[in-house]
Structure formats: C-alpha cells, structure tokens
C-alpha cells in the first residue's frame, strides 16, 4: 500500500493540559480601559465571598493553549468532511472579513433604526433572496438554528389551524427517516408525532401516508431530498393529500443544497421550509454553532410570522414589532444577524448566474462517489441520489467489520468520517455528503480509501480497522464511562 495516496500523517501534536492545570500564580491582570475606580459601596453587601477561581493565563500562554487545542481538530479547512445531511462545504474567508466590519459587528440591537439602515438593508436583501431561492413569499430570520426553525414553523402551523377553528388537530406525521429534531420540535409545540414507515425505496409510501390522514392531522414534516439522499418525486401528490386532509406541510430544509437554483420547494406545495444557513449558505459551523434557521412561508402562513421582522417602507428599512396574528417572538433579537452577514456575502458571490452550480456540483459529486463505491458497498436504495449517498456495512459485516470501524479507519487515512448510523431506516448507515466544494482529486482519494477498506475486509486483513484510529492525538474514547459517571467540570 502506498502511503502517499492519503493525507493523514502523524505530525507533531503537543499534549496540552487543561488550563486549570497550568499551575502558577495568576500573572499580572490584563490592562483594561474605563473608569479606573471601584464599584460603589452600595454593592459591598453583595460582593462575592470567594473568587470564582478562573485561573487567568498570560496572553502568550493563552494563545499557545488554544492553538494547541485547535490542532487536535479536523475542520473543513483541514480536510475532506463528508458528513451526510450536514453540508460541510468550504466557508469563504471574505465572509468572515466583512462580518467583522465595525459597522456590522459592533452595532447594538437597540440602536435607533436610522443608525442601522445599512444593517437592515443587508438583512432585508437576504430575506428577499431566501424567499426567491426557496420559492416562498416571506421569511422570518429569528430562529437561531434548524431545530429552532422547526419549532417556529410548527408554532405558525398551530396558530393557522387554531385560526381555522381546528384546535383538535394535533397529530404530526414524521417519516421514519426524519431528523430527531422533528419529533422533538413537535412535542415542544404541544403536538404528538406518528411515524410513517418508509417504502421499500426509502421514500414516503403514499398508501402508508393515506392510512394516517384524518381529522387529527395537523402537519406532515418532510425532508426533501430525504435523509437517504433521494428525492421524494411524489412531493406534489404528498402535499395535495395532506392539504386535502386539512393539514399543512412543513419542509425540513436541511438538504436544500441539492436544489439551490435548480428547483424550489415552495413551488412543490410545501407551506413552509426552514433553511439551515450554516449548511446551504456556507456559514461556518464553529464546532457546534452558531447557525441560523430562517423559516420561509407561503401566503397561508405569512400572517403568523414572528415579530420582530424587517420591512421596507419607501427607501427606509423598519423593524416591525407587532403584527396582529403573529405567533410572537422566539428570540430576544431579530436573529443571529452576524451569521446572516456571511450568508448574504455567500449568495452575492454566486448571483443568479452561478447559483445553480451549487446544487449541480453537489449532486454530481455525490453521484460520482456513489458510482465509484456501489460495487464495494451495499446500496440500500437504487437509483440517482441527490447531494448525498447512502451506503451500509452489510457486506463488510460478514468479515466482522462494522460502520464504526470503517469510519474510524477513514480518520487514519486523513478523512473525516461520513455520518454514521443515520438515517435509522437502514442497518449500519453510512451517509456521505461530499458537497460542491471538493475537487475530483479529493473525491477520488476518498473513494480509493473506501475501496481499499472494502478490499481489506474481503482479504480478512481487518486488524487496522479494529485498531483505528491510531493517528489522532486520542484513540477510541470510552463513551460508556463518560455517561455512567458524568464529569462535566474540572475539580482542582
């Protein structure tokens, strides 16, 4: 085996203690501006009796500490990151630069409207673009992440049904391939979920759907393309059936990257769609956020949009704070505006002339990976995939190798693993989403690695798979131990 095919090597990695273990007396305090006085005596009675015990490192020590930690991470900038349903595409650096302009980063949310017209203009512009791309008539920027968008969308659906006098409708239909956030969001909205079993092709089964459609149905939550990476080609009929039964259709837009510029969910009959801007519109995921989950709506749900939101009045941008039928607010502010600055910059870079290339190349890359791997790995659902492809470990199981082993071996070869064990509708799922920002060379290298792993399984040469990973700073971690006796804070 040639070691030059793949990118992972054991470079110098520095062990680094917890900052609490940098045992020395706190260095001289950082110099701070402001009124160089003490708090007034009126606060004396309320002072801390003991210090918080935050250690305080000198600036050089702090920088080295966090830089060393950073080097233990795999990021998009480090290497290929094909996490399915997560859309880990390149995050343009210019977006970081413009979001940090003082006139955008250091604006207070309660400044008078006339002092934030530039900010409101950029946000309003983005509102229009999101509606145009997704095919809806209006949008709220308030939700802070995808799951928050789901909750917001369901709140609007609830209010819409209540306005129709249909308070009794509380059943939310969720395909068994859905993200776990879907049922959790429904529960938070005082509704209950019923799972619809997917058909043999991994798609929503119309007959199965019809069985659940009755006077109790509030909504269907659908992800399209679904989490098996395939398009629900019956989407129009599905929406029609739900509407005829008196329910509404919620769109989970986690997989919008497959459609950008090529097709619009709003045209297909969905009533609303949340958009994960940290996926589709390339805002950095930051090791777990911040994201943003704007919800686009059609005319049916528009009256129920949250406040505050931005409207244009002549040449002036205004913040609407009250609206008769609004569900109210779901966040303290207008939304995670810093995230939206990056999304605006991203769409600006594509424009109407390039935007469809996002979906085209994303879908091309996923199908290319699928075509290269389908002889070596079990493909549960035949046919075209969209922006991600689904494999399973069925053929490797007979050699004692599981999805987890394959994932961990990929780490040693320099790749971030795919999403594993999701969706739940197949055993040993491996969901691969390459995104459009990867070159053919990278895709080939990844596919070569996957094929080599499959060949090692066939040859019974599996020790390296079970031992993996050996190259990162830590090997497989004991999750059972962590959960059994949770230690979430350091005790000196």
């Amino acid at each position: 085996m040639s070691n030059t095919t793949y990118s992972a090597t054991s470079g110098i990695q520095q062990e680094e203690p917890l900052l609490f273990e940098h045992a020395h007396e706190a260095s001289e305090s950082i110099s701070l501006p402001g009124v160089q006085g003490k708090a007034p005596s009126s606060l004396d009675a309320f002072k801390r009796k003991t210090a918080a015990n935050i250690p305080g490192l000198s600036e050089p020590e702090a920088v080295r500490h966090f830089v060393r930690l950073s080097q233990w991470n795999h990021g998009i900038e480090t290497g290929f990151y094909p996490l399915g349903s997560c859309t880990m595409k390149y995050n343009p650096r210019v977006n970081e630069q413009v979001a940090r302009l003082p006139g955008l980063a250091h604006v207070h949310p309660d400044q008078p409207e006339d002092s934030v017209q530039g900010m409101l203009e950029l946000l309003h512009e983005l509102q229009g673009w999101l509606c145009e791309i997704a095919g809806f008539s209006d949008v709220t920027l308030q939700p802070a992440a995808g799951a928050h968008g789901e909750l917001t969308g369901l709140m609007m659906i609830r209010k819409c049904l209540d306005a129709r006098g249909e308070q009794k409708r509380k059943k939310v239909l969720v395909p068994d391939s859905a993200h776990g956030t879907n049922p959790a969001s429904a529960a938070l909205c005082g509704m209950y979920t019923v799972e619809i079993k997917s058909g043999a092709d991994g798609r929503i089964d119309l007959d199965e759907l019809k069985k659940h459609l009755n006077d109790d149905v509030a909504a269907l939550m659908m992800t399209n393309p679904n989490t098996a990476g395939t398009f629900e080609s019956n989407v129009k009929e599905i929406c029609q059936l739900v509407h005829d039964a008196g329910g509404l259709v919620y769109g989970d837009g986690a997989n919008l990257n497959a459609l950008v510029g090529v097709a619009r969910p709003g045209d297909m009959g969905l009533d609303c769609l949340h958009i994960n801007v940290h996926k589709t519109f390339s805002t950095p995921h930051g090791g777990g956020g911040p994201g943003a989950g704007p919800v686009a709506v059609n005319d049916t749900l528009k009256p129920f949009l949250p406040v505050p939101r931005i409207e244009k009045d002549g040449d002036v941008f205004k913040v609407l704070t009250e609206d008769e039928q609004s569900i109210g607010s779901v966040l303290s502010t207008l939304g995670q505006t810093g995230v939206y600055m990056r999304a605006n910059a991203y769409i600006s870079a594509f424009g109407h002339n390039h935007i469809h290339k996002i979906a085209q190349d994303a879908v091309l890359n996923a199908n290319y990976v699928l075509s290269r791997l389908k002889e070596a790995y079990h493909v549960p659902f035949e046919g075209l995939c969209k922006h991600e492809c689904l494999l399973t470990d069925e053929w490797q199981n007979k050699h004692g190798v599981k999805t987890l082993d394959i994932a961990k071996r990929l780490i040693d070869l320099g790749f971030h693993p795919m999403t594993v064990y999701f969706p739940l509708i197949v055993h040993g799922a491996m969901l691969i989403e390459p995104t459009e920002t990867e070159s053919k060379k990278t895709l080939d290298s990844f596919c070569d690695a996957m094929l080599e792993i499959a060949a090692q399984c066939e040859a019974g040469d599996t020790q390296a798979l079970h031992d993996a990973p050996v190259k990162p700073i830590r090997r497989r971690l004991d999750e059972t131990q962590a959960a059994r006796k949770p230690v979430l804070v350091w005790q000196d």
Binding site: S29, L32, P33, G37, A39, P40, K47, A51, A52, I54, L57, V63, L69, N73, N91, L101, P102, L104, A105, V107, P109, Q111, S115, V116, Q117, W129, A144, H148, T181, A184, A186, G190, T193, V262, A263, M268, H285, G287, G288, P290, G328, S329, L331, T333, L334, Q336, G338, V339, A349, H352, Q360, V363, L364, Y368, S371, P417, T437, D478, A483, V489
Partner: protein, 456 residues
C-alpha cells in the same frame, strides 16, 4: 466560480464515467414542472470578492456603531472589551470550520475547550454543572421553565415582572401550547419603576408551582438579596431559576449559585462576544448536579481513550433529540459552540482579577454617571451594578436629551417602552434604561452629563 474546484472537463469526465452526458440528467427524478430555468432567479449578478468587500463596506458605513460613538445601551446586550486573541482563536479554521464533535478522536480541541468553558461557567455562576450552550438568554430562560416542569412534574410557572421583557415573551411563547399556568408578577406601583420586590414574587408561589424565575441583577440593573427566595422555593418544593443579562456582574457580585439557585440561565455575550446587532450571542445554562439528566442541550464529559489517556466526548446523549426523539429534554441540536470557545478564551485571558476589574470599572462608571446627574433627572433607588433607569420630568425632556446626545455621538440609553411594552402606561415615556461598561471612559460620562445639562 471561485468556490467550485471543478473545470468543465472534470464535470464531463465524471458524468461520462457514470454514463451521463448532461449534468441535468442527475436531476431527472425531480418532476420537470418543478425545474427552475437555470439563471432565472431574481438575484443580482455575481460579485467578485472585491465587489463583496465594497458592498459590505458601503452598507457598514451607513451604520453608527460602538466604535465611533459612546454606547450607553444595555437591555441584554453590552459593549464590553474583546481582546484580539479571542477573535484570533475563533478564527482558526480548526475551530471555525469543524462540525459538532461527533467524532471525538479528531475533535478533542473543540471538546477540551467546551469542558473548560463548562468548568468556568459553573465556577462563575456558582453552580455544579453547565451545558455546552443554548442559543441566547431568552430561549435559555424558556428551556429552564420547561426543565423545571420535568423535574417537579408540576406545570405552573411564576416569573417576576422585573425579568427582561424579551425573556418573558419568549418563555411565555414556549409555554403557551402546553398545559399549565404562566404567571407574571407585576412589580412596583403605578407611577414608579421598581426593582424586584421578592415579597410579591413569593406571594405568587403555591404548591402547584414548578419554578419561579427572577433576574439578578434584574432588567433595571437592580441588585438584591436572593436568600428569601431560596426559603420560599424550599417551602413550595419548586425550583429557583435565576436569569442574568450581563455575565460580567459575577466577577464582582455574589453568584446565583451561592444563593442556592437550582438553575442559572443568561447571556454570555459579555464574555468576549461582539454585539453584532442581534447575535450570535451565547445562552448560558447551568444547574445543580442532581438535575443533570433533565438538563437540555449538549454536554461534554471526561473519559479515557483506548490507551487510557484522558479525553473528552459529548455525553448523556440519551437525553437528546437524536436518541429520544419526541421524549427528548429539548429539540436543540446546533447550538452556539464557537461562542463557548470565545467565552472560554476570554475568561482565560481575564482570570479572576481581570473579571473583577471589568466589573469594577463597569459599576464605577454607572456610579460616576449617577452621581453627576443634574436636577430633573432621577436614577432608580437601591444597589445597581452597571445598569439603571433614569426618570425625566417629561417625555419631551427625555427625548430632547436623546436627540442632543445623538448629535454628540452618544447613544444615551434605551427608551424603556421600546423593550417593555406598557411602560408608557406607568407615567408617560419618561424612562431611559442606561448601561455602562469598561468601554465608557470618564470623559464620555462628562460629555453625557454636559449634553444632558444643555438639553434640559
């Protein structure tokens, strides 16, 4: 297109290898009636990188901001100093462009930073455990109310009227579709702005109460003794939830945990995160260890690897939506991970001494401002940290001052009624919510007072 590596010949080669000739063949499963004509969306033409910088610079220049004004605005968002190192650390691609740490072996950097964050938040708030963030303070407050329902199996929520009105609005919204009562306790009497009166809050509690939520320092900046609330919570077997808006306070004043709080929620924006108009900020969530399994959100825990070395993983995932689905403790998935790294970096640079200095300077600035107020303007009574309410003799006087201040590049404060709906009904729009931080210098306060004297 500069973000797309493929050349047309790459695309053709890939398509041919799959037996296709046109990239749109790959979209044949989407009914043709839904195909958008390529290039037809109503978006502007693509901008170059230079064009993007120019566009954003132009828009940014239309805004006034804390860098070219004196910002006395608070109400949940504060202009504190952010050391350059914080932005450097969170700009590193390894932190910035990583996903949620599902593969812990190659995410130890994010995970150790989260563990350090959790530890420092627990210490700062005086609590036993912290999660790895919520979106922001209002949703964190709502999640605390939901958690208290699970812990106590009771459904009545009592919240003080001196909690930030935005936190109250979101909490009420979250609870409104569920069974149970939501009770807001009005503070003060007609004609005055009062800080928290715990006796009124306590009077509203009963045996059905799942939790009582107060803010400390409260929305009006008032600092008060929380001890009576602990006793009342014990008497009614309900949880004591303490919210806060400016985490810098706890560098100086007693932590909510020291008063016996069961859950502490609030904004960590003050800990090294720019105001950015509306976010991303940081929702802090900390609680007692015994309630850990009902806590919402991600948590990072200590463990060992196959070689016995110390390492970290996301843990207690059986509480979470991807395992428990509709029975999860919350629907939250993506949270504010990078903001935890920012806050951890900030607190590391500050240490106890730096945090105390920030708090001292912030409080000293407000004290100086209040001490110089001319006649005709009254600050609220009692102990305040870095925020208070000024009351003018009339709405006209207040607005004249706000406008005069604008002319001197001063954002003088937030007219109370813009956040607190109904505040104008108390006695007209005479109130101004004013906040100070260590970014306010003595000269700024002198200018503030001089402007006030001119305007009045």
């Amino acid at each position: 297109m500069r973000y797309l590596p493929h050349t047309d010949s790459d695309r053709q080669a890939m398509l041919q290898s799959m037996g296709h000739s046109n990239i749109m063949d790959l979209f044949a499963d989407i009914p043709s009636e839904f195909h958008t004509k390529l290039g037809s969306l109503d978006l502007p033409v693509a901008l170059s990188e230079a064009g993007i910088v120019k566009k954003f610079t132009k828009a940014a220049e239309k805004n006034r901001h804390a860098g070219n004004t004196r910002c006395f605005l608070g109400g949940g968002t504060y202009h504190h100093f952010v050391p350059a190192v914080v932005d450097y650390v969170i700009s590193r691609g390894e932190f910035l462009t990583a996903y949620t740490p599902y593969q812990p072996e190659i995410a130890q950097g994010t995970l150790q930073a989260l563990f350090e964050y959790q530890t420092m938040i627990a210490r700062l708030t005086g609590m036993e455990v912290s999660n790895a963030s919520m979106y922001e303070a209002a949703t964190a407050t709502a999640e605390a109310a939901l958690m208290a329902r699970r812990v106590t199996r009771k459904t009545r929520t009592v919240i003080a009227g001196s909690v930030n009105p935005r936190y109250r609005a979101v909490t009420e919204n979250y609870l409104s579709r569920l069974d149970g009562d939501y009770v807001e306790v009005a503070m003060g009497q007609k004609g005055t702005i009062h800080g928290t009166d715990l006796s009124q809050v306590i009077a509203a509690m009963d045996e059905q109460t799942a939790c009582v939520i107060v803010q400390y320092p409260d929305f009006y900046g008032s600092v008060y003794d929380l001890a009576p609330l602990r006793e009342a919570c014990d008497a009614h077997k309900c949880l004591m939830v303490v919210a806060f808006s400016d985490a810098s306070a706890f560098g100086l004043i007693e932590s909510p945990g020291a008063y016996g709080a069961d859950i502490v929620v609030g904004s960590g924006q003050a800990l090294g995160i720019p105001m950015a108009f509306g976010g991303p900020h940081l929702g802090v969530f900390a609680c007692k260890q015994k309630y850990l399994r009902q806590m919402p959100g991600r948590v990072c825990g200590l463990t060992t690897d196959a070689d016995g070395k110390r390492g970290f993983v996301l843990t207690l995932s059986t509480r979470e939506q991807h395992i428990r689905r509709e029975k999860a403790t919350s629907n939250i998935c993506t949270n504010q991970g990078l903001m935890c790294t920012a806050a951890a970096t900030y607190m590391t640079l500050m240490g106890d001494a730096g945090l105390e200095t920030v708090a001292n300077h912030s409080a000293a600035a407000l004290d100086l401002l209040v001490s110089k107020l001319p006649s005709g303007v009254v600050a609220a009574d009692g102990a305040h940290y870095n925020e208070t309410v000024l009351t003018f003799t009339s709405a006209e006087k207040r607005d004249a001052f706000i406008n005069e201040a604008r002319n001197n590049d001063i954002f003088a404060g937030i007219p109370l009624e813009t956040i607190e709906k109904g505040a104008e009904q108390i006695d007209g729009n005479r109130h101004l919510l004013v906040a100070t931080t260590e970014m306010i210098e003595e000269d700024d306060i002198n200018d503030y007072i001089a402007t006030m004297e001119v305007a009045l």
